[in-house]
């Protein structure tokens, strides 16, 4: 194919993509703000940290605000995607790769070498970047900052600043605005401020684990770790409430909301990972791979992660239940059997009631993963996992030299491989390379659970408007989850896909008003057709009935 015009790597981009003077100034302010953080990172000791932290974050937020206003408010309302495949940053050009590498390195340091950020170890005072955030942390929780506080603050700042940008970009679209307002709120309140304030309640005889209320298992893979469960139980009524709420969220609230609205209620309205992807990551949504191979890889990958997370969580819980059968009213045996029975009933129900909606590969996959999971459960019931020792250095490129019990080995490996590398380093660090939802699409076990439900038991779908599709491809191009939306739309078929997070951008960018996210009856939700609306009625009857 002779499509040699590719500006992404060129030094001279088309003129229209140049930014205005005002934008250059805004960019300069933002970069100065970031530079203050870099200076702190290199141990420049700022005299008044509170002032400099405020200055830094203020410049970053202010710069983004001024830049976005200049970018969008100077134009009429409408789709603003001009040049996304020309700009180096958003088309895997030099800037894109550079940003990807910077982010990746940041995540590696954050997860594995926090001392480099200035985290004080063994009771020493913080230095560097972490120390710069001490004043804010003290203000909120009364404690000094950790690397996670620094990360949480920057994360929230990114969602707020780029959320504002996103709202301006889609200022003609109320769905986009409300959704973005929602993720900005949940990130700021539930993930950032409330947990920090709750830490103030902790005292010598009362302590709650850091708890982001909206962060459910299995996305929150440590939700049912022993130390957390113990802390919750020890914190009496309040703790027990949070523990029970955690379970109810997974088994009642989430399935109910997913049934009513699809998994978007969480993934693109509440979730923090989704929040960052939809705001700071919005510029990279077109980079997700829409190919069939990527889809096949996705199906194996994401379901494997779910099995891994279930197997790990069950191992962790069954082990601490096994330690001391007096402490918990629930014993290891009862726990393992109830999990086994639950999964068996669930699978049997799906295979029976939804047999017409499952193709051969889905059927085989489900059975295969089921057998694998049950095999683990049987294994757990016959062995005391705390007696099986595993040397972690084999699995961590030598980063971790410790020897673990089987359950903690699984737990550590999950935390390392999935929690850190996949969701952080690859999931966010690779935004400019793989697109903004690589983690949500390929790795998030919670997205898997809600996805299975969305595909089988939900009122949500993206409706295709009769025969109006012109196969232009804007929808597929802007699908961050890599769904080939056009493949459905051009057949006049509704889009009912487990991976759809309901961001609504496909519908927003459609030039012909073909797509609508909606919740409606389960009947006729999946409607494959051969001949589209608008043609001869007899032909439609004839062909579509065959």
């Amino acid at each position: 194919m002779s499509n040699k015009i590719d500006h992404s790597m060129s030094l001279a981009s088309p003129d229209a993509l140049n930014i205005t003077t005002k934008q250059k100034i805004a960019l300069a302010f933002g970069l100065v703000g970031l530079f203050i953080l870099v200076l702190a990172l290199f141990n420049v000791d700022f005299p008044n940290r509170a002032v400099f932290l405020t200055l830094s974050l203020g410049l970053v937020i202010g710069g983004t605000i001024v830049y976005s206003r200049e970018a969008y408010l100077t134009k009429l309302e409408g789709i603003k995607n001009d040049g996304v495949w020309f700009k180096s940053l958003t088309s895997r050009g030099v800037l894109g790769w550079a940003l990807g590498i910077v982010l990746t390195v940041f995540y590696i340091v954050l997860y594995f070498f926090p001392a480099l950020l200035g985290l004080g170890t063994n009771g020493e005072a913080n230095t560097g970047l972490v120390a710069l955030f001490d004043p804010l942390s003290n203000l909120l929780s009364g404690n000094n900052a950790s690397q996670w506080f620094v990360y949480g603050t920057l994360y929230t700042v990114a969602i707020l600043a780029f959320g504002y940008k996103f709202m301006l970009k889609y200022r003609h679209n109320r769905y986009q605005q409300l959704r973005t307002g929602s993720v900005m709120f949940f990130q700021t309140a539930f993930a950032f401020v409330i947990p920090e304030l709750m830490a103030r309640l902790n005292s010598d005889d009362f302590s709650l684990p850091y708890n982001d209320l909206k962060n459910m298992w299995p996305l929150n893979y440590y939700a049912f770790d022993q130390w957390r469960v113990d802390q919750f139980i020890n914190a009496q009524t309040v703790g027990l409430f949070f523990l029970i709420l955690g379970v109810v969220m997974v088994f009642v609230i989430s399935p109910y909301l997913t049934y009513k609205y699809g998994k978007r209620w969480y993934c693109s309205w509440v979730c923090g990972c989704g929040g960052l992807a939809e705001t700071a990551g919005d510029s990279f949504r077109q980079l997700s791979n829409k190919g069939v191979k990527a889809w096949k890889f996705e199906r194996w990958m994401i379901n494997s992660v779910l099995v891994f997370s279930i197997v790990t969580t069950v191992a962790v819980i069954s082990t601490f239940l096994g330690y001391d059968s007096e402490k918990y009213w629930f014993t290891k045996g009862v726990f393992l059997i109830s999990i086994g029975v639950f999964l068996t009933l669930l699978l049997a129900g799906i295979l029976y009631y939804k047999r017409k909606e499952l193709n051969k590969s889905a059927f085989r996959g489900a059975i295969g993963y089921y057998i694998l999971t049950i095999a683990f459960l049987v294994f757990y019931s016959f062995f005391d996992l705390s007696q099986i020792k595993i040397n972690a250095s084999y699995f961590s490129f030598g980063l971790n030299q410790n020897t673990y019990n089987f359950d903690s080995a699984l737990r550590s490996f999950y935390g390392f491989g999935i929690g850190s590398i996949f969701s952080g380093v690859i999931g966010t660090g690779f935004y400019p390379i793989l697109g903004n939802r690589a983690w949500c699409r390929m790795g998030c076990p919670m997205a898997t659970i809600m996805g299975i439900q969305q595909r089988l038991f939900s009122k949500f779908r993206i409706t295709t408007n009769g025969g109006q599709c012109i196969s232009c491809g804007n929808c597929s191009n802007s699908c961050e989850m890599g769904i080939d939306v056009r493949a459905y739309a051009q057949k006049g078929e509704n889009i009912v896909r487990s991976s759809c997070v309901g961001c609504g951008v496909c519908s927003a960018v459609c030039p012909r008003g073909v797509l609508k996210l909606e919740n409606d009856s389960m009947d006729g939700r999946i409607n494959p057709t051969e001949v589209l609306l608008g043609n001869d009625v007899d032909l439609m009857d004839f062909v579509n009935k065959n």
């Binding site: 993509l17 040049g83 679209n173 109006q468 232009c472 609504g504 589209l532 004839f542």
Partner: protein, 435 residues
């Protein structure tokens, strides 16, 4: 095994190929001189605007064709010998067929303007046209101004494209209001204002007299017929409509007029030769109120769906359902269902109800029969409507009162959008009182 050869890999040709494959094991070859693989012509503009790359406009992955045993041949058919059922290509290749489908689409109209073939003067239809505009108007330093001639759907798309690269545009429109041969007054006027809001220099009731050349045979300027004004420019977009792309058939026995003449079965005068899409012309007059040549994405696809049945042994007439179409004018989405005629060519029984929102970006026009009050069609701007609902209402022959009262049912805007149905209904009721 019967060999079906399709000339043209646009939506019509590809649709007929796909449906033949679904219904049979015939050997299928698609011929194209334009591109290796099918792409969505309607998306060409988004490549220039940087929304997508060319490969994103290809609706099927490259492996699709082999998997579905659809052979692709790149080449330009020079002549068709219908007696020996042979195609002769430029360069000497030949290809034999058992059944032939002509789906060669359109080419931009050129009305004999002086200078119309200069470098820099072009239409916007093919992949080659896109390459050419990218060459001639990469940015606003190379192309200091562009002039677009012809106020239709392609013209407005070209204006939007050039606008995205900050290239100043002068837009010459023959009519006294944009696209008012198709759109009723109120809508056409709204688009005039919208175009001007985008800082496009819209010149209504203005014709092109000539395109002047510089010393290198490139476009230098244009002259306006009415005023004699000369406008310097580097690119001239010729977007005064399209015509069937059938020059290569002149030497064949296939009967043509403006397009390839076909009967309701989409058969030409030669057995086993069919024509569909933009290049086909209905021999016995338009179907219903349709034109004899329908250069629209949807009709091309529909003809492909029907013809595949005929070729696979289930002979069918092309009997399209209720008319529908859509377009986008810069930021204004447009959809239409049923028939709404402009002032020109409107049947005397057709009456209109027009509603426009005060923000000047949304309006609807409902056409109905003035005596029976039967609902005839709707144009809608800035409000998305449900195809299925209007198709059903047209079949059920609803009257205009019913349609206006039940508009919320047809709304297809994204969730949480502001609704205007109450306002529309109030305006409608008001109008009846004052009459």
């Amino acid at each position: 095994m019967e060999h079906v050869v399709i000339i043209g890999n646009g939506i019509s040709g590809v649709t007929v190929a796909r449906h033949i494959r679904k219904n049979s094991d015939k050997k299928i070859t698609i011929v194209s001189a334009e591109t290796d693989y099918f792409f969505s012509r309607t998306a060409l503009m988004y490549i220039y605007m940087g929304h997508m790359k060319f490969e994103h406009t290809q609706p099927y992955e490259n492996s699709f064709w082999k998997k579905n045993r659809i052979e692709l041949k790149k080449g330009f058919v020079e002549t068709i010998e219908t007696t020996s059922k042979t195609l002769h290509f430029t360069g000497g290749d030949i290809l034999e067929y058992d059944k032939l489908v002509i789906a060669t689409g359109s080419k931009p109209n050129k009305f004999g303007w002086p200078g119309q073939d200069l470098e820099g003067a072009q239409g916007l239809y093919s992949k080659q046209d896109l390459d050419s505009i990218e060459r001639n108007a990469p940015d606003n330093k190379t192309c200091k101004r562009a002039v677009i001639v012809g106020g239709g759907l392609i013209g407005i798309e070209l204006a939007e494209m050039l606008n995205s690269r900050s290239i100043p545009v002068t837009f010459l429109v023959r009519e006294d209001s944009f696209w008012n041969g198709v759109l009723p007054k109120g809508e056409s006027a709204m688009i005039n204002r919208h175009i001007k809001n985008h800082h496009i220099d819209l010149r209504l009731s203005t014709n092109l007299q000539e395109i002047k050349s510089d010393e290198n045979g490139r476009v230098k300027s244009i002259v306006i017929t009415e005023t004699g004004e000369e406008i310097e420019c580097n690119v001239v977009g010729l977007t005064a409509g399209v015509a069937p792309n059938i020059d290569f058939l002149k030497t064949s026995n296939i009967e043509t007029n403006r397009g390839v003449l076909v009967n309701r079965q989409l058969e030409t005068n030669i057995p086993d030769v069919y024509a569909i899409g933009d290049c086909a012309e209905q021999r016995d007059g338009g179907i219903g109120q349709r034109r004899t040549i329908e250069a629209v994405w949807y009709t091309g696809r529909m003809m492909g769906e029907v013809l595949a049945q005929t070729i696979c042994g289930n002979p069918l007439e092309y009997k399209p359902g209720h008319w529908f179409n859509s377009a986008k004018f810069l930021d204004l989405e447009y959809q239409t269902y049923g028939w709404v005629f402009a002032d020109r060519g409107r049947p005397e029984y057709e009456e209109h109800f027009h509603w426009i929102h005060e923000d000047d970006t949304k309006c609807i026009t409902v056409a109905y029969h003035k005596d029976t009050k039967a609902f005839l069609g709707i144009n809608t701007f800035g409000i998305r409507m449900r195809h299925e609902t209007f198709d059903r209402w047209l079949t059920e022959k609803r009257d205009v009162d019913y349609v206006i009262k039940n508009l919320p049912e047809a709304n297809f805007d994204p969730e949480f959008y502001k609704h205007f149905e109450k306002d529309i209904l109030a305006t409608y009721n008001n109008r009846l009182q004052t009459v």
